[in-house]
């Protein structure tokens, strides 16, 4: 019985380790600031991992996932602001549902074009949402954003909310990991490598692309919704193309060919931003230069390059790592 439990835990052990580390944070530190940073890593980690299901696995570079992230955040923010804290969780669920539906409709439209068109279109639609939100001051607060979004009940406590986020992020990443290693995940990877052959296998390419687009967007919205409670505020920047861009940078930094690469990238990115941002206001210049360097010299990302080194100097087999 114990063996069965441990055997089922072991494949998930990178994830288990992750959860353990993050669970210890409130124990190790009293600083609410550090707790906030850890929360940011968790939420962005989920956002980046969900994004990478689209890019690293399926080969679909969406530059507009901020649309769903923002949708999740604004769903929570607006409902709580207008109707009170009790609506926090229902708002989160509503955001997920809206993201699911919107990604279905949008997906139908943009997936048919593929390639760089797909990327730019997702960008364009996300920008459209940003513009509308920005200009609709009366409803959304525009550039001011909305502050004072307090989660209900015991979730008001920062530490309880932190564990709430940790739980949701754990379940989400666990689910996404199962998907990545499932037959569905394999079809997605094969679609990236040779879509023509997939057709000659009897499978539909676009239909599967639509499925993963909807799934990825669903979790992006979850991340956004949780973030509204982490910072107790929402802002139009959450819909801005730079938010989509950061998820992409985090993924590349960590490594798009490894499942946990983006999560690791998110952690490094946020910690870098936290430390460098304290010293200079020219963070974009620095991260832009770092990422330029990465893209040209180390395209596999930190985790990817590390694994390559391990393969070259160690005896691991080159088994599929994502």
């Amino acid at each position: 019985m114990l063996e069965k439990i441990t055997r089922r835990l072991i494949p998930a052990s990178p994830l288990g380790l992750l959860v353990l580390i993050f669970a210890m944070v409130p124990v190790i530190t009293n600083s609410p600031y550090k707790l906030n940073v850890a929360s940011h890593i968790l939420v962005w980690g989920l956002f980046a991992v969900s994004f990478n299901m689209l890019w690293g696995i399926t080969g679909m570079l969406s530059f507009g996932q901020a649309l769903y992230y923002g949708l999740g955040a604004y769903s929570v923010g607006l409902m709580v602001d207008y109707m009170g804290s009790a609506w926090f969780l229902p708002a989160l669920a509503a955001g997920l549902l809206m993201a699911f539906l919107l990604s279905f409709l949008l997906g139908l439209l943009v997936i048919r074009v593929g390639g760089v068109y797909f990327t730019m279109l997702t960008l364009a639609f996300a920008q459209l949402a940003w513009q509308i939100t920005f200009k609709w001051y009366d409803f959304t607060g525009g550039d001011d954003g909305i502050q004072g979004i307090i989660p209900p009940g015991i979730l008001q406590n920062r530490i309880v909310y932190y564990y709430f986020v940790l739980l949701l992020v754990f379940i989400s990443i666990w689910t996404l990991k199962r998907m990545a290693y499932s037959p569905f995940g394999m079809i997605l990877r094969c679609i990236q490598q040779n879509p023509e052959r997939i057709r000659f296998l009897g499978r539909r390419v676009r239909r599967n692309q639509l499925r993963i687009y909807m799934i990825s967007s669903f979790f992006a919205a979850l991340a956004g919704g949780m973030m509204a409670g982490v910072d107790s505020s929402i802002h139009t920047d959450m819909l801005l193309w730079t938010t989509s861009g950061e998820a992409i940078l985090m993924s590349v930094l960590g490594g798009i060919s490894q499942f946990f690469g983006p999560f690791f990238g998110a952690a490094v990115f946020i910690l870098l931003e936290d430390n460098i941002g304290a010293v200079t206001e020219y963070w974009p210049l620095i991260i832009g230069s770092v990422m330029l360097f990465m893209v040209i010299i180390f395209p596999k990302g930190i985790v990817g390059e590390a694994l390559s080194l391990k393969v070259r100097f160690g005896k691991t087999d080159t088994g599929r790592s994502s």
Binding site: G115, T119, G288
Partner: protein, 307 residues
């Protein structure tokens, strides 16, 4: 540089000919600026299969260079225009040579191109802030062009005519280069088949760099031209890229003249849209984008691709 289109106040805000004509000119002005940027974008894509996401940043650089040369160093506006074109072109060539070339032929090339140009946006936009500061700058119209030209009942700002005129000249020049010179022919051939052109002994990489330079030069000049009408700020780049993207998609990726027609369409739609529903005018361009993508994704003016 805020990209709000310039609403020319007609003498009466009603649907009479003077109003119509003023909006028409306004639209053409916007269209010219859009085309200068979009043509470069579509050129780079057509010849090199590269989508220069950072193209808007060259537009923005053009505005800042214009500010620096004219407003700060007091150079003559037309000289400034030429110089910003050259500077933007040179920077573009350096960027292509140093960075973009390294990822040609890589797996996932398209994605990494976008990523790389995205990094450039971050770098260039911040550098601009570093060098010039984040406050809005302004650039005056050149002497002699700050008034209006009168045609009967209609007053047309002289500067708008200048923009349209310069834009036209730049386009004709670009067209001449593309169709009459050997380099231009090579570029067009490379747009059709990069490999064969290489086999024929032509230096394809050099051609690519040159095309990139011409494209960014045009974009930079657009920025300088636009500067006196709008304030000069960082962050203008991304709005321009979205607008240019819409124009390029409507006209067809790689279709030089399609971009021209697309620019005119969007320019007029935005000009008239702003006259009637100023706050939401930009939505119209998105609407057109969606319609084009649903019914003819290869562009309104391109031959239908055989699927």
């Amino acid at each position: 540089m805020s990209n709000r289109p310039i609403l020319l106040s007609g003498k009466e805000n009603s649907m009479d000919t003077s109003f119509f004509f003023t909006q028409l000119i306004s639209g053409l002005t916007i269209a010219t600026l859009l085309f200068l940027v979009a043509s470069g974008l579509t050129l780079i894509f057509g010849v090199g299969n590269v989508f220069n996401f950072a193209h808007g940043s060259f537009y923005m650089l053009g505005a800042y260079f214009g500010y620096q040369f004219s407003a700060v160093w007091g150079s003559n506006f037309f000289l400034t225009l030429v110089m910003t074109g050259i500077c933007a072109g040179l920077i573009g060539m350096v960027v292509e040579f140093l960075f973009l070339r390294r990822i040609y032929g890589r797996a996932n090339e398209g994605g990494f191109q976008i990523l790389l140009t995205y990094c450039l946006i971050l770098i260039i936009d911040d550098l601009v802030k570093l060098i010039w500061g984040a406050e809005y700058k302004s650039l005056a119209r050149p002497a002699g062009f700050d008034g209006a030209v009168q045609l009967g009942d209609i007053f047309i700002p002289a500067y708008n005519l200048l923009i349209i005129g310069v834009g036209l000249m730049a386009v004709i020049l670009a067209w001449l280069i593309l169709s009459r010179t050997r380099a231009g022919r090579v570029a067009r051939a490379a747009a059709v088949d990069r490999e064969i052109v290489g086999v024929l002994g032509v230096n394809v990489p050099m051609t690519m760099t040159m095309v990139f330079g011409i494209a960014t030069a045009l974009g930079g000049m657009a920025g300088t031209l636009a500067a006196p009408m709008r304030t000069v700020t960082p962050g203008a780049g991304i709005e321009v890229i979205i607008d240019s993207l819409i124009v390029v998609v409507i006209g067809g990726m790689g279709n030089f003249w399609g971009a021209w027609l697309g620019a005119i369409l969007i320019g007029e739609v935005v000009a008239f849209g702003v006259a009637f529903v100023p706050k939401w005018a930009t939505l119209f361009s998105f609407l057109i984008l969606v319609i084009v993508l649903v019914f003819k994704p290869e562009g309104l003016f391109s031959a239908r691709r055989t699927r």
